[in-house]
Amino acid sequence: MKDAAKKIVSDGIRKAGRNVSQNEGLIFEKSAPHKRAFELPPLDVPAVDPSAALGAAHARESVEGFPEVSEIEVVRHFTRLSTWNYAIDLGMYPLGSCTMKYNPRVNEFVARLDGIATEHPYQPAEVSLGCLKIMRTLEKCLLEITGMDACTLEPAAGAQGELCGLLLIRAYLQSKGSARRTVLIPDSAHGTNPATATIAGYEVQSIRSDAAGQIDVEALKSIVNDDVAALMVTNPSTLGVFEQRIAEIAEILHAHGALLYMDGANMNALAGIARPGDFGVDVMHLNLHKTFSTPHGGGGPGAGPVLVKNFLEPFLPVPVLVEKDGRLSLETHRRTSIGRLRAFGGNFGVLVRALAYTLAYGPGMRQATEDAVLNANYIRRNLEDFYDLPYKSPSMHEVVFSDARQKKNGVNTMDIAKRLIDYGFHPYTTAFPLIVPGALMIEPTESESKEECDLFIDAMRSIAAEAETNPELVKTAPHNTRIGRLDEVTAARKPILRWRPATSAAPSPSDLSEPNPPSSRSSE
């Protein structure tokens, strides 16, 4: 089977070739006493003995086991590690609802400028006007894009933005003497939604989607009552479909004194085309690391600004950026505020990057949205004869297939995703949303060229064919990564979460990943 696999791997695949990647152990395994990677300038004040200054009980000799390596070893170590990663800079991530778009490099440059990166959050306002202007400009841009009235840039990520939004809703309802206990969440929602509602102290009630994958409005009408605080909606939904009756949904909620929260994760389908503030949303968050191009960096940082209608403005978390007579300042005390979500303010460095992105596009941001929706529809059209499409409603910026056809040969969405890796792509989102069993959730974003889209389509078609003619090949993928599928069961049963020195269970050099097996090199 191995030889047949190798043949198919090198014949059918256009985008990816085999890469010789280097072995690399843990940094601790390269460590040897007295190697140094960093030197400090000499001390220009008298030295102080720590035992004398702190007391012997507080003194520490050194950090046991800390690495001791040279600068070149650090550079090589992390460079080698980096070559084991896939990245946007290498190719498409078709991950649904992640909006893996190009991370512009000028954003990195301006975030690192002296006078931007160097600023301390507690420095006086007189010497922080540049920072305050950056924040105010970004706020105004986000308000224009979303059609909302007021903004906070403080939440550190989308999940914290969601929490902020729910806390704002709670504070508002309490101020009206109408504390309520329930938040409604569609069964298609991202996991952070119910997790956040629980942390905000609410009970979660699930609301089902109808046959078209939209919120079941009749079900909503029967559930909404005076104990419902809000509905958390994602629009377009996680199926990539616009909630056509969103304005009606907003009215139903408002008629009962409940509010409409929008998870802005899918804003990439709307920027410049439609504004949540115009279709009844009271409060929403944005993910700057999605729609606004700030880099994912292997899992963060992000930022989750929250935008509100005026009636929620008094409750915004502190510090609130206020503009009075043209002067900007940060208000740290506000009686009606929900409080502080994070020390020091928001992820300013991420805000800088998002603003740089927005300035690059200006009103032309609409074009990015159009390209994103075009790419998704192009992929849908060219794969819908090969993969089952459970919901036929028009797709916006993402499309959800299912593995129903391939399942007949025992091939599921996870297998297809792993095989896609052999073709040089990162997998799409598997097994989500939960309402589609065996889901393949695909969002190309506007950053993909027609060429990349075509390569992706070819790869997916080829895998669909393999699922019929050679399902084993797909089920045992990936075949040409430096490491095969990893044993996640043992990792969960007996977790090893840190390196320990040689006397315990540290692996010997033979455990290190081997380069591609010798027999395959000769076929290149």
Binding site: E488, V489, A492, R493
Partner: protein, 132 residues
């Protein structure tokens, strides 16, 4: 095909009960462990906990999922199977025997008899499978 002991009783949430007098032993069924995949962790209540039928008794986790275990009967937890901490894989290997989870002193010794018998449970899961 798994064997479902005929002297056990079963619930639609895939727990089994084996009782003698007022002492009941509870675990999850072979169907449940098969659905979960490789079990990596079992969360059990403390000895002495009072349980009402239908209440959450504990949880069982695989790599990608977590499932609650519901108390099939009411009573007090008098013993838990601590071997499952070090060896959660027993749930996959012997779900009806060595992977028993808790022993409960029943508040009503007649309660287990009201649950599904082996034939009814097997019919229930057969229907589930054909509907899928």
């Amino acid at each position: 095909m798994a064997t479902y002991p005929t002297d056990y009783r079963y619930t639609r949430e895939h727990e089994w009960v084996s009782s003698k007098g007022d002492l009941a032993t509870v675990g999850i069924t072979d169907y449940a462990q098969h659905e979960l995949g490789d079990v990596v962790y079992v969360g059990l209540p403390e000895v002495g906990t009072a349980m009402k039928a239908g209440q959450i008794l504990g949880s069982v986790e695989s790599v990608k999922t977590m499932s609650d275990i519901y108390a099939p009967v009411s009573g007090t937890v008098v013993e838990i199977n601590s071997e499952l901490t070090a060896a959660p894989e027993k749930v996959n290997q012997d779900p009806h025997g060595a992977a028993w989870m808790v022993r409960i002193k029943l508040s009503d010794a007649a309660e287990p008899a009201k649950l599904l018998d082996a034939a009814a449970y097997q019919a229930f899961i057969a229907e589930k499978d054909s509907a899928a």
